[in-house]
Symmetry: D2
């Protein structure tokens, strides 16, 4: 199987469609991005990297960072964290508050905004936002084995200005005592992790431990146990694409996590970690061309977890 | 890997816990079942069958039949069927009507009751219930290569008496014109398919095509394309356990479909089809010991789709 | 105050607007009505009757009959009836099912469909629909002192054919054991009471007991106690116009009950009973010109219960 | 009719029940109040005042202030204010956020928290909170003709500390652009108006304009037009007691507004303004003994708006 040829083909096939979908406009900094971009990178468990298109261009990973924040929180709080956040698909939009009211301030899963805010609260653990953000960034450097990855402070600031819904979610949960730190501290940290800036190659590298029993095969760094890697993959598959998770599983068949910056991290367990990026989003907020690319890739490689 | 030893161990380990959970009591015939039973059967794609406990005892498969009905409907209506039913997890109980009101009578997926009723309406396709039930039963015989499988008419009748919620769901959708036949015809057919009676061995055989690219390796019968088999598996993983689907994916990591009769059909793509049965249900309506058995089985075999 | 002049003026002022709004089209028989009609009748507690426009034309009272059915049920079951139906505005559409799921099958008030179906179930009280419908019609004859009032069986039949939502509501509540008779019996009775056919004069007469301490001053017939009359008026004011009840109270300031046939019964306590009719409905399902007429009437007479 | 005798009797009858219900505990300062208190005051349109029990003890009026804030906002923005807040009963708890999500950030009415926050935003109108609070307090002094009425800053501060739900509501609506000023400014103002401290006599005086065609008969001060007074009364009747509004209309039959401090302002149009206070609340958050007192008062005076 010639992976380079496959992703070159995909990139070529998608080039006439560049610009499809809508760039997220509620975060002012993201609205400025040129929509006609597409990048893809694959890192395999045997240590090879393949890339095509704008795979070297950094973009705002946004909600994809929730996967790494969850990994960090599981390391700190262990399975007891599930008292404060659920593990079920939400059946509603990424920023819905309805479910919180009906379920006493316990978010449905760590990949919707409310859940990720609770996870951030856990990672804070009494520290200052600056320290928590530093710890998070060091963790990303460790995962990707790349100290140049940074947080885009303009994007973080841009979110803080307009993130009224997230402020509402956090205060609402604080009213249920499911947020323990002052809301400004939690959201300050949350907005910074969302503003993590990575390119496709870095992102594929950072996620590779999930494809390889919890250990990054490039560095030998052990991140989590094999069982925990499987469980994070399971959460990505059932909850990783908001109210489009079922659709993604149906079409692509890989655990994945999308961000409104247009990126998607997908895991082929035992085989590879894949990052795609294209800024235009579909109607449920996932990268439109990114989803198409992964559907074709899964079909051509036979990597779907649901069968050859 | 000695599969027989693994399932014998599991059966022995669970024997002190027989009777845990609650038998579904809203269907009178099911309430009469002895809860202290447990059976498991595995059929592998290379043609071997393993069984333990009460694997030869027939039970009411209930919602597991939704997998087969969906397969039948996809054969008739193709992908156009997705105009009338969604592919997303529901985020609510198996018999909720709230979502239908908010989403114009389109059920979220084919594995909640409302969705399965729409699927049944598609399979009816202008025929009489008697014919549709006959077609469905022949399809099961074909899948399992076993003509002795039957529908328990007492159970079907028992459901009809108390199924007020299902009558409500069907009429509600008919008000949105998403049910095309008279409600009595649709529900008559629906209650009969739910009353399908199979033992674990028969059920594992019937599901084997989903583990083997759409073809039953025991008979060579082709049921669906490899792609469609993957897609049905994806739906089972994201939606197969009602509002416990995320939990099942997290703990077990296999596509699966449960029924309130206490059965679960699980698929290890490329490897095997597994049927477990134990009548006591957990709080979201899935077999309690059946779920535990599958969690242990997946751990010991390394069959989780989310990684070794 | 010259009431005849007031209603003649209103009728003249509204004549250029005849036909505004939309005639209910989901009940086929109602969809056939000429929308360019308007009638009004007032009966005062001192025994005078005033009428204008099409006040002598019979129309389908539809949900206005819920007031009379409630009066009948209160006479049978007394205040204990409130265990099975609430007394709060619903905050949702007249045929919503969402609230029922969240509140265990107890409808919010007797004037939304679900609540009126429960009230009908109470009035049935073990009798056959034919008897209950007979009793209801005799009660109307007694209230209006007019034996010519009848039920339009074509309308009743027309509703039965398309009333899927009502069948859903009734079965849903039966699943919560809040409907005691077979659903067909309850709905058969329910659809017949909705199909009650009256003209404005008859309707104003029938409601007059509510304006006069529970006794019809024209006949001297005592219907309910003064306290019960006040309470029924209170329910009409808070819940009588579905999700437009607040608006009606704000603009008109009288207890009232509307029906999708285009009629409204309004009560000026201590003064008069008023019936208006015009088939075109506003966006929440209440007679558009009827509401306007009552707003003007209340302003000119000073009859608002909220102050001179 | 001897009003003094009536309220003396009511006060005596209720004395064995003092302490029933639960004092609001989510505002720390309110939780400290001695629950065994009861006061009542009536001011009639002909200028007499009657009082009994703890009618001279100041208490936190809380949501009752929403009536005065609405009056102020109507004076500034006129009927155009209804683009930003509805006029329908909510069918849910006083602090629910669910409805806001389903209805694009437009609160159902000005008497639930979300609605009152929007009203406060209108009153701010570009000014600083200090100025808006000053204007509000001067308005209260004018209404009650009493310059000694003040805001309890400890209560205001106490709310600010724990009002996470209100912060959530405000930010949520700001996300829909239905709050125009910074949330801290709006809530700072909002919490201060809630912390208004009055005794029953002052409160009855302040509300008297609503019983007298918009003009305070004691001072001759004109506050609003007769039509606007009726409309505010209508809103109080349909929406003044959260999800207990229907119940209050059914039992008492007067426009009223309750606060979690245990106060209720009730209006008998054309007759009197009544203030009651007793800190223990019923299950929907309205003064338990206060509601009972008003029910008895309405029965004995015949003041129900729904008939003699």
């Amino acid at each position: 199987m010639d992976l380079q040829a496959i992703i070159d083909d995909i990139t070529a096939e998608l080039s006439p469609r560049l610009g499809e979908g809508n760039v997220a406009d509620y975060i002012p900094e993201l609205a400025k991005i040129d929509p006609k971009q597409f990048g893809i990178a694959i890192t395999t468990v045997d240590g090879n990297t393949y890339q095509a298109g704008n795979a070297g261009t950094a973009f705002s990973v946004q909600s994809i960072s929730k996967v790494f924040m969850l990994t960090l929180a599981l390391g700190k709080a262990g399975e007891s964290m599930w008292k404060r956040v659920g593990r079920e698909p939400s059946g509603s939009a990424f920023n819905s508050i309805v479910q919180l009211e009906h379920e006493n301030g316990i978010p449905r899963n760590p990949f919707i905004n409310a859940g990720a805010i609770v996870v951030t609260d856990m990672v804070l653990a009494g520290h200052q936002p600056r320290e928590a953000i530093g710890e998070f960034l060091r963790f990303i450097h460790y995962l990707a084995n790349d100290d140049t990855i940074s947080i885009d402070r303009r994007v973080a600031k841009s979110e803080q200005k307009t993130g009224f819904r997230n402020i509402a979610l956090a205060n609402f949960m604080r009213g249920f005592d499911n947020i323990k730190h002052p809301v400004e501290m939690v959201l300050g940290t949350y907005f910074h992790q969302c503003a993590l800036s990575m390119n496709c190659v870095q992102l594929a590298n950072a996620g590779l431990f999930l494809a390889n029993r919890g250990t990054n095969p490039l560095t030998g760094f052990s991140v989590v146990s094999a069982r925990r890697a499987r469980r994070i993959n399971a959460l990505m598959l059932t909850c990783g694409h908001y109210d489009g998770s079922g659709e993604f599983a149906y079409r692509v068949g890989l655990p994945g996590k999308s961000g409104v910056g247009g990126g998607i991290l997908a895991i082929a367990p035992g085989k590879a970690s894949i990052a795609v990026w294209s800024p235009g989003l579909n109607e449920v907020g996932n990268s439109k061309l990114g989803s198409v690319a992964l559907e074709v890739l899964a079909a051509r490689t036979g990597w779907s977890v649901f069968g050859p």
